[in-house]
């Protein structure tokens, strides 16, 4: 392999996007969870919900900040490192990213200020509205980003106009064949990631003797979520695989490790060898099961990678293994959710130490599965940036190897520092656990429009102006 600007730019993009996706995966779920917690507090007046809200809000603030700054990087890398793609695809995909900024980014960023600092300035209802606005914003963001990425996986609704692509039908571009199921897959992944982290935190706190209303509520909400969503995620992932099989067959061949054309087996473990063009099978379900999984027909004879020109094949090893990591963790999540539900139903949850010890490391499983899944999806798309239309090699910027290499090193170092610090602060907050006696916000007692409210509202300003 030659260390040219292309491979360095690809490593840089993989690094920055893998770092970035960790935080949205967490904050998409956490924002919704915070909205549920605050809503529950407003309805039930149970202070445990308020304590939980303020506890998770602190962690949310750190994770969200890291998602924002790493996201700004992504929006500029299309130009710095992938200007060929920007020029060719800008007219098709640009509006999708533009709509993300207009509908989601501003909403999240603006109401985040009220969410974090407005607790004492606006009433509880308006504060709840701000939380919901942030939660909705994160979902809008996911919608547009998945639409853009899915179009790059399954491009439709466009035509070439000289050197660039133009959209012939934006509806088709946005709701491209892989978009709906991939959106469901990603949002479920985000909710699961958050649920598993909340579950791990609750388990950790219980192991340390913090068995109280807060940790009980946290753990039960998280178990309910994982027990329901983890099986649904298996279905969403399966549907996503069927779409990929229909539109990106080489990706699925790499995921499954299929080289030969056959009634395909379902290889559970093995070692794909791109040089010998074969997969050494260690553990597999019989021939036909693989065909049945992607087509529903066990007798279907499906082509293997040998039918794909070598120049058009994705790197098989990375795709094969990251796919297995994702699926393996997904199955572990289903198990954890069912076990938790069983313990809950039989009233043994508080002191189930073995379960707690299992749940703590599983707190990382959502993050690992998300990153592995994106690796399978994105590396599986190679060597194309727009599948079957524009090669990644034709998308890269005409910049020097030195510039890309030095910026790559800078990103590696800076992200390592920032990540280590962020994770450290999040762990420290999680370890502290929710405060049981958080004070309620002290909103103005009068309706905002009333005369007395105006007096109390303006009092601090007048004091400041005369000081």
């Amino acid at each position: 392999m030659e260390w040219d600007a292309l491979i360095l730019a690809r490593i840089q993009f993989a690094w920055t996007v893998a770092f970035h996706i960790i935080f949205p995966s967490f904050t998409i779920g956490l924002a919704s969870y915070l909205a549920v917690l605050e809503g529950s507090w407003l309805v039930t007046k149970n202070p445990a919900f308020r304590n939980l809200y303020l506890f998770w809000l602190k962690i949310f603030a750190i994770a969200f900040g890291m998602g924002v700054v790493s996201g700004v990087v992504m929006s500029y890398q299309f130009g710095t490192n992938w200007s060929g793609f920007a020029d060719k695809g800008g007219s098709v995909i640009g509006p999708l990213l533009g709509y993300e900024v207009l509908t989601a980014f501003f909403l999240e960023a603006s109401f985040l200020g009220i969410m974090l600092f407005g607790w004492k300035r606006v009433g509880p209802t308006l504060h709840f509205v701000a939380t919901c606005a942030v939660a909705v914003g994160t979902l809008f963001s996911a919608f547009w980003i998945i639409a853009a990425n899915s179009w790059m996986q399954t491009p439709v609704g466009f035509a070439w106009d000289g050197p660039r692509m133009v959209a012939t039908n934006y509806w088709a571009v946005i709701f491209n064949p892989s978009m709906p199921v991939r959106l469901a897959h990603m949002v479920l992944a985000a909710y699961l990631t958050t649920g598993l982290f909340v579950l791990a935190t609750a388990a950790w706190l219980k192991l340390r003797g913090r068995i109280n209303a807060e940790t009980r509520i946290m753990q039960r909400m998280a178990i309910a979520l994982v027990a329901v969503l983890a099986p649904l995620q298996l279905i969403a992932g399966h549907e996503s695989g069927k779409v990929a099989h229909a539109h990106q067959p080489a990706k699925v061949m790499a995921m499954e490790g299929w080289y030969e054309t056959a009634r395909q087996p379902a290889i559970l473990l093995g070692w794909p060898d791109p040089v010998r063009q074969t997969t050494d099978v260690w553990l597999a379900l019989p021939d036909g099961i693989g065909s049945w999984v992607v087509t529903g027909d066990a007798d279907a004879v499906l082509p293997g990678l040998k039918t794909v020109a070598p120049a058009d094949r994705p790197p098989v090893g990375i795709v094969f293994w990251s796919f297995r990591v994702m699926v393996g963790l997904g199955i572990a999540m289903i198990g954890l959710g069912l076990l938790g539900a069983l313990l809950w139903a039989t009233g043994r949850l508080d002191n189930a130490r073995a379960f707690h010890w299992l749940a703590v490391p599983m707190g990382a499983s959502g993050f690992v599965a998300v990153v592995a899944g994106w690796f399978a999806a994105e590396v599986g798309r190679q060597p194309w940036v727009v599948y079957g239309v524009v090669r990644t090699a034709d998308a890269v910027s005409p910049v020097s190897v030195g510039a890309v290499a030095s910026s790559l090193i800078a990103f590696l170092i800076v992200y390592a520092i920032v990540f280590a610090a962020g994770v450290w602060y999040i762990f420290r907050l999680a370890d502290k656990g929710p405060e049981v006696g958080e004070t309620a916000p002290t909103p103005p007692n009068e309706a905002p429009g009333s005369a007395l409210a105006m007096v109390t509202e303006t009092a601090p300003e007048t004091a400041g102006a005369t000081a």
Binding site: L54, K58, A61, I62, G65, M66, V69, S70, G71, V72, V73, S75, Y76, F78, G79, T80, S83, A86, D87, G90, S91, V92, G94, G98, Y99, E100, V101, L102, F105, F106, S110, F111, G113, I114, L116, F117, G118, W119, K120, R121, V122, R164, V166, S397, P398, V399, S400, A403, S406, S407, F411, V414, V418, R428, L429, P460, E461, G464, A465, A467
Partner: protein, 343 residues
């Protein structure tokens, strides 16, 4: 949508986004630049608290500027970003340090606290300087061949771009000082007034120097202003003269009034006027080029249907965004109350 000059409309929209970015993130980057000059940790806490609820929203205008350029003028984006590779990456890295420092600083103690305070101020300064380097390199022009950047890694670096960088740091610091006049009380307010008084003439000189240096970049620019080092073509210059004149008067106002007891919003608004005038001057120098002086906005524009689709989004969403942005500023109006944070 035929009949509308969509690229022109989009140039105005992106110009507006950039101006709003500079006026809004400018003051919070400026507060970061002034951060090391605070006397006590309590003063520093007031400084960060004065921008904590709004900086994220402010920075979003940078995403709209960058994302908008990608979406509306993909060719310009594909030419400018590789040409400005290093300063853009530098700006992104600086914004990372600065952005995370808000949260980390609040959580850290002792040495870590000082490290993140330094990351906050250093990141703010570096981000401002990188933006100046990008602007300076952009104005000097970009080597283009076909539809690709054809220059070298260091093309953006010149005495001119360094001058623009230093000027922008001073300009943001002025916005920051004027913002603190609105938000601070007591000792910090007195510092802020002194900072603004010192920075106003500095920025006036910097703007003058950048303006004169800009004239040396290209005969195209001279032709638009009618001004050379030796002579002034008055019929040419008079119609465009208000831009530098208004900037000068606005900065004079900041210099004279920011020290006065009663002034609260005046200095910040006047500093904004100076920036708007400078931006108008910039527009006079380069319009209608998207990449000076090789690619016009019409050549760089995305397909008409892309511009039309996004225009619908802007027409619907921009008033909403401005509405709730205004609401957030209204919620956090008045002097800083440090105890408002959730941590």
């Amino acid at each position: 949508m035929s009949g509308l000059d969509l690229p022109l409309i989009w140039a105005v929209i992106i110009g507006t986004a950039v101006v709003l970015y500079v006026l809004l993130d400018g003051f919070d980057l400026g507060v970061g630049i002034l951060f090391p000059f605070a006397r006590t940790r309590a003063e520093q806490d007031v400084m960060t608290a004065s921008i904590a609820p709004v900086w994220d929203g402010n920075e979003t205008w940078l995403v709209l500027g960058g994302g908008g350029l990608f979406a509306a003028f993909p060719l310009a984006y594909a030419l400018v970003m590789p040409a400005m590779y290093l300063p853009v990456i530098l700006m992104l890295l600086a914004l990372i340090f600065r952005g995370v420092a808000f949260e980390f600083r609040a959580k850290a103690q002792g040495r870590d606290h000082r490290v993140w305070s330094a990351a906050f101020s250093g990141g703010s300064m570096l981000a401002a300087a990188s933006q100046g380097l990008v602007l300076g390199g952009f104005l000097k022009g970009i080597a283009v061949e076909g539809r690709a950047f054809a220059g070298g890694t260091w093309d953006w670096l010149s005495p001119f771009s360094l001058l623009v960088a230093a000027s922008l740091v001073a300009g943001y610091a002025l916005l920051g000082a004027c913002w603190l006049i609105i938000k601070a009380e007591g000792e910090l307010l007195a510092h802020a007034r002194r900072w603004a008084q010192a920075l106003a003439p500095t920025v006036a000189m910097a703007m003058g120097a950048v303006s004169l240096a800009t004239l040396s970049l290209s005969p195209d620019i001279v032709a638009r202003w009618g001004v050379t080092m030796r002579a002034v073509d008055w019929p040419m210059f008079l119609p465009v003269a208000p831009a530098p004149l208004i900037a000068l008067l606005a900065l004079l106002y900041v210099w004279r009034r920011s020290g006065e007891e009663g002034s609260l919003y005046g200095p910040y608004l006047a500093a904004c006027v100076a920036f708007l005038a400078a931006f108008a001057g910039l527009a006079i120098s380069i319009f209608p080029y998207a990449v000076p002086f090789s690619v016009t906005i019409w050549q760089a524009a995305a397909a008409d249907n892309a511009l039309a689709l996004m225009l619908v989004g802007v027409a619907v969403m921009l008033p909403v965004i401005l509405g709730y942005t205004g609401y957030v500023y209204w919620v956090f109006r008045g002097k800083v109350r440090v105890g408002d944070a959730y941590h």
